[in-house]
Amino acid sequence: MYAQEVKSTGSKPKSLSSMSAKEKAFQEKIDRGQRIEPKDWMPEGYRRTLLRQMGQHAHSEIVGQLPEGNWISRAPTLERKTILLAKVQDEAGHGLYLYSAAETLGKSRDEMTKELLSGRAKYSSIFNYPTLNWADMGAVGWLVDGAAIMNQVPLQRTSYGPYARAMVRICKEESFHQRQGFDIMMKMSFGSKKQKAMAQDSLNRFWYPSLMMFGPSDSESVHSAQSMAWKIKINFNDELRQKFVDQTAPQAEYLGLTIPDEKLKWNEKTEQYDYSEPNWEEFFEVISGNGPCNTERLAARNKAWDDGEWFRDGLLANSTKNQNSQIAAE
């Protein structure tokens, strides 16, 4: 999802009987549904996996501002512009909530920033696709934020307290994101022929990348098994993807748009939609740095960081000066 490839310890979760006393008490606490808090003892693997996941999640929120930021200055009306601006500002906030949750585990903000800027840390594949026209603002809100909500709602119950609390705040804000996107899609789909064609084109381009957001099937993955035992991860990727398809297909129908999948159809027996898998080769290309916009996104983040350096330095110099003159006055 926003964290699509979180490697855990790489081995199967231990059985209670093979755990040390500390590990056992820790696991039982999680099994009882109790939260783990920053200063509590935790297995090193839990800490590392959690940091990786929260890092990927936070970076996704931050990089996720870029495809939409691209359209703020070109929004069709002042109202749309203020809405988009508020949405993008929320995403910055989501990144900050998550970075500060990660910081409670003792990793510094600068360290995380460095991992993003150097390309060492991952962020969601979806943000490496371009936003070519205004209809894409609709599709992104509707599909991308829609998929994000699917994943983030269960994460409110994740075992790590600060992460779960950050997710509660984020979820409260997300439904506005999806609705403003759907609102744009309605305007376009029920507008002129040309507008509707733009909406359809946008759906065509964003459908499969949105399905990829949930990550490849992981029912056999030892990483997911360990993360689920620790309640860092709540659902399997396929489970959430199916839920997303089931929710979205009728919405597309309402808009009069066609999901670009000939196999997509309601299955009476399973009571869910059958659908085609996205191209996973493409996904692995994008996630490993070779998507259409990876270079551009990282360059934009690096530029923002480098261009802000004189300002951060100035702020720090000023506060040090003020502290020194305060000490001198005392």
């Binding site: 906030g93 900050l96 951060r312 330095d313 702020l315 720090l316």
Partner: protein, 94 residues
Amino acid sequence: MANELPLWEVFIRGQHGTAHRHVGSLHATDAEMAMNNARDVYTRRNEGLSIWVVPSSEIVASIPSKKGPLFDPSKDKIYRHPSFYNIPVEVKKI
């Protein structure tokens, strides 16, 4: 990148007359910047009537591994709870 701005903890009192509650943290050089950032990061939807910002380094926290001895004194004082006392049913409203 060694020049990280100091960390601050943010507390907000919501609309319903409750006490200030910890909502998260942020980085800022001084109190004024911390206050402005707290407003932007944590109260974009009218969540607060009042904000406290405190440098994280100023907070003293109890140690989780010592929570046994720390909270022990209150454990055996069950007479501090109203349910300790048996009040006859005839005596209403007490």
